[in-house]
């Protein structure tokens, strides 16, 4: 009898609500992802929408990715040059450190963070507003599944555009380092570039490239889920956007550690 009472009391606890809510969210997310993949594998894709989203995610994010990567490359060059000058009385390994850092780590992560802030937030805000203004219900009444119409195009756009943006980020970051190294540390461009590229293999590029696909998945799944499950009007949209950006960033940084660990173990480095 006492055990039965304990169970009833557990149902009313915050822990139960949290566990139930987490399981429910995971279930809804998995359902949405499976639905999205089903439409993609059936090639039931709105190509006009997908191209539009690719422009939104890829082309329109390019300037900010270029700016942030260029600055990051320069900062790295300054830091590495200063540190090695203090140790060896001259700036050494600047190209190598920047090349490796950008390609395997900073390029994918930095691009993912920038795209989370620009694209993930926009996706959640747009879908969330559509939810609270009954536009998603209107889609249903007009014979259209919102996942098919809205999520599939955004999913494909992020999945293909983030790796391309990552490549741009790598190139621009290394170039930023080159500009600073040649001007401040008087390292020759040939020496900088040979340092950057000599120690890299195809696997090094694949390492960063694989990460960017996973980061794209995290950004778009979180953004769409938060958007589709927005409640309580304008306030709810604000909360969803904040939740989407924060969740994506935490998941990207956490996933980065595990992916790095896995890829290194698999000798993709």
């Amino acid at each position: 009898m006492k055990k039965t009472l304990d169970i009833f009391q557990f149902y009313r606890t915050k822990q139960y609500v949290f566990i139930y809510g987490t399981i429910e969210s995971l279930g809804k997310t998995v359902n949405m992802v499976l639905e999205t993949f089903t439409y993609i594998f059936k090639l039931d894709i709105n190509f006009k929408n997908t191209i539009g989203q690719m422009v939104e995610v890829g082309w329109k994010s390019t300037p900010i990715v270029i700016l942030t990567s260029f600055c990051t490359g320069m900062v790295l060059a300054l830091q590495v040059g200063t540190a090695t000058s203090n140790l060896f009385n001259e700036p050494v390994y600047v190209g190598m450190v920047i090349g490796f850092s950008m390609v395997i780590e900073l390029g994918p992560v930095l691009t993912a963070i920038v795209v989370t802030g620009r694209v993930g937030a926009a996706i959640t805000a747009e879908l969330g507003t559509m939810k609270v203004t009954e536009q998603l219900d209107a889609l249903y009444t007009l014979g259209t599944n919102p996942v098919k119409y809205l999520a599939v195009s955004r999913f494909l756009a992020c999945f293909f555009m983030l790796p391309i943006l990552t490549v741009i980020s790598n190139i621009v970051g290394i170039y930023g380092g080159l500009v600073l190294s040649t001007n401040t540390w008087e390292v020759s461009s040939c020496s900088y570039l040979s340092q950057s590229l000599d120690f890299m293999t195809v696997r090094t590029f694949i390492h960063g490239f694989i990460k960017s696909f996973f980061f794209a998945l995290i950004i778009v799944v979180v953004a769409c889920y938060k958007g589709f499950n927005t409640k309580n009007g304008a306030e709810g949209v604000g909360k969803s956007v904040t939740g989407s950006v924060m969740t994506s960033m935490v998941l990207i940084l956490t996933a980065d550690y595990f992916l790095t660990y896995l890829l290194v173990a698999l000798k993709v480095k």
Binding site: E126, A138, L142, T144
Partner: protein, 255 residues
């Protein structure tokens, strides 16, 4: 014909629909009235399949949408148009694309037919030269008209209106009511209209039902509702704050 039998629906601990049954005959306009929060919009969304009831059946032209497959549900939805309370036009699309949306997804029209049909539907609701505008550029009344044009574009047999006159001035409200009557006359559609606006209800209704506490407490014509002795109905149609309907009865929380 739409037949709703013993529909029950609860959100968290509050029962919103408590054994609702109604029938919509061909060519009829059924008006549903009731205080805010009694579940009128929930009933309408349940009828079109947006919300699944806890129990009961909803039969539309012989298909029980509570038990049918998603394909059958989509086929049934082709017969129904829905006008949302806040119009729910797609912000990212212009007016032409909004009205053409249902034609592209629910009907097999080519581009020329779509263009002609969109122009015709917009003309029917009294709008011209708005095709290139975005919904944000329209007034509340114009948005409602576009929403009606979108709902009638693919020639549904039934149109469900969720508070079509709410938030409009009295003249625009009367214009929308006249438009609903005109569509019934010219397109021979059957309609269910959820409203608080008694002037509109008297004007367009073939039959009025009132929902209170999840149940239908009145069903009759416009003349019958004016003569009823039911205290709840009398309080509502006269718009009195004192009476058996209390403010505290009217709140519920959706899960």
């Amino acid at each position: 014909m739409i037949k709703v039998e013993n529909i029950y629906k609860s959100f968290t601990k509050k029962r919103v629909l408590d054994g609702i049954s109604l029938e919509l005959c061909p060519g009829q306009t059924l008006v549903i009235i009731g205080s805010s929060g009694v579940g009128k919009s929930i009933l309408l969304k349940t009828i079109i399949g947006l919300i699944k009831p806890d129990s009961g059946t909803i039969t539309i032209d012989g298909t029980d949408i509570t038990k049918c497959t998603s394909t059958d549900l989509q086929q049934t939805q082709k017969k129904m148009g829905y006008v949302f309370q806040e119009a729910a036009l797609f912000d990212s699309l212009d007016i032409f694309e909004n009205v053409a949306f249902g034609l592209r997804t629910l009907a097999n029209f080519d581009e020329t037919q779509i263009k002609n049909r969109v122009e015709k539907c917009l003309a029917m609701v009294g709008l011209t030269n708005v095709e290139h505008l975005k919904p944000a550029n329209l007034s509340g009344g114009m948005k409602k008209r576009v929403a009606i044009a979108r709902a009638i574009s693919y020639k549904p047999s039934y149109i469900l209106y969720d508070e079509p006159t709410t938030g409009l001035d009295p003249i625009m409200s009367d214009a929308i009511s006249s438009l609903i009557m005109s569509l019934k006359k010219h397109l021979n559609v059957s309609s269910i209209v959820v409203t608080h606006d008694m002037n509109s209800a008297y004007k367009i209704a073939d039959k009025i039902i009132m929902i209170y506490d999840g149940k239908i407490i009145f069903s009759g014509t416009s003349e019958e509702i004016k003569r009823t002795d039911n205290e709840y109905v009398k309080q509502f149609v006269r718009g009195l704050s004192s009476g058996p309907i209390q403010q505290t009865d009217r709140t519920f929380e959706m899960g």
